[in-house]
Chain length 193, copies 2
DNA sequence: TGTACATCAGTGAACGCGCGTTCACTGATGTAC
DNA sequence: TGTACATCAGTGAACGCGCGTTCACTGATGTAC
């Protein structure tokens, strides 16, 4: 067993990224210190050398999940390319994204959970919602923040709802309908106003 | 201590409605058999005379919360009156609703939780989402189900997001923006197509 | 209507279990000389 | 470069606690006669 400083950083990294995956897959409450450490190939006692407490870890894992989800989204939007907004919308509202919450958007995966969490946890997610709105506002015409807020609400709402609906066809339908709606909003924005 | 059959029905009712409130306030996982029974003025042992297991109760409490949330929504929409759709949207996307999840829409309160729950639990919520879409489709023009889906996604998404955002002004802004957006969709529907 | 008894709603002790956290320990790392 | 030692990452036993569930029991209810 190596115990170098570099290895400690790697351990922390493994714990954090395991937790970021886990909370998107099964919720904040699903994380137990023991199981998490096992998944990171460590024993539970070592946990407190990396984090103050379980709830400290949870806040940090949420931040990580949010950043990670954004990175995934931006990657599939093929940045730099034109039509990148359409690509982002299509990938956000895709079956692939719906079926892989553990690597996807942490906002959609955890909105209701975080909505009833303490202030500190909500404060972690808040700026990520705002920057999502800003990103979309940039595409829809910056003067109309309302439209961007509506588009972001619909996208996040649709993805979350599509994970509840049991009939796969109807679940697909939710994604498709909101895809169309949001892409039409962009066309409206480039055409009119 | 009375133990009549009528009182048993009342006990069950108290347990169920306490649980329905509790899950909207603090999530499905927050319900513990002991605390719940205490809140219903009973002791924990009696629980299994009413429900098969904690997870049986959870499914039934979710159904109750969904029905209860719909009743609250319909009540504030002043049914029968004209402009009732506008009233429903305004009350759904109000600060009062945002600040009282325990008596409000169970879909918004629990989407992400239910989205990762087992099939049985998702099957409880699914028809309530569908009937919400139908209700809105009726108002927006029945031929355009896509618009209804987009409106419902945006409303649920906005309410859930507004509970995360820490700055009250920005949280209000989310509600207001989507209120405007959805009401404009209705105007479009009555005017064109 | 009055008595005897079966039913059964609710009680509370007890169970085994997994949890978050603490802590004395081990042994590799990395520094001082 | 080589040795001696302090540091500290990670281990695993132990803690107290709350959990879901079971069960023998109690006593009011409600039925049979």
């Amino acid at each position: 067993m190596g115990h170098s400083q570099a290895e400690k950083a790697q351990s922390r990294e493994r714990i954090l990224s395991e937790a970021a995956t886990q909370i998107r897959e099964a919720g904040l409450e699903s994380v137990s210190v023991g199981k998490l450490m096992k998944r990171a190939n460590l024993t539970h006692g070592g946990f407190y050398g990396h984090f103050e407490s379980r709830s400290d870890l949870l806040a940090k894992a949420l931040e990580r999940a949010l950043v990670d989800g954004e990175a995934t989204a931006r990657a599939s939007a093929e940045p730099g390319k034109r039509r990148s907004f359409a690509a982002l919308v299509r990938s956000y509202l895709s079956r692939a994204h719906r079926d892989a919450p553990e690597s996807g958007c942490a906002i959609a995966a955890l909105v209701s959970d975080v909505g009833r969490a303490e202030h500190e946890v909500r404060a972690v997610m808040t700026p990520h919602i705002e920057s999502y709105i800003e990103l979309v506002a940039g595409e829809l015409g910056e003067r109309d923040e309302s439209a961007a807020i509506a588009a972001v609400s619909a996208m996040i709402g649709a993805l979350a709802l599509s994970r509840v609906i049991v009939d796969p066809k109807r679940s697909d339908r939710i994604l498709q309908a909101v895809r169309e709606h949001v892409l039409a909003m962009q066309e409206d924005a480039s055409a009119g106003a």
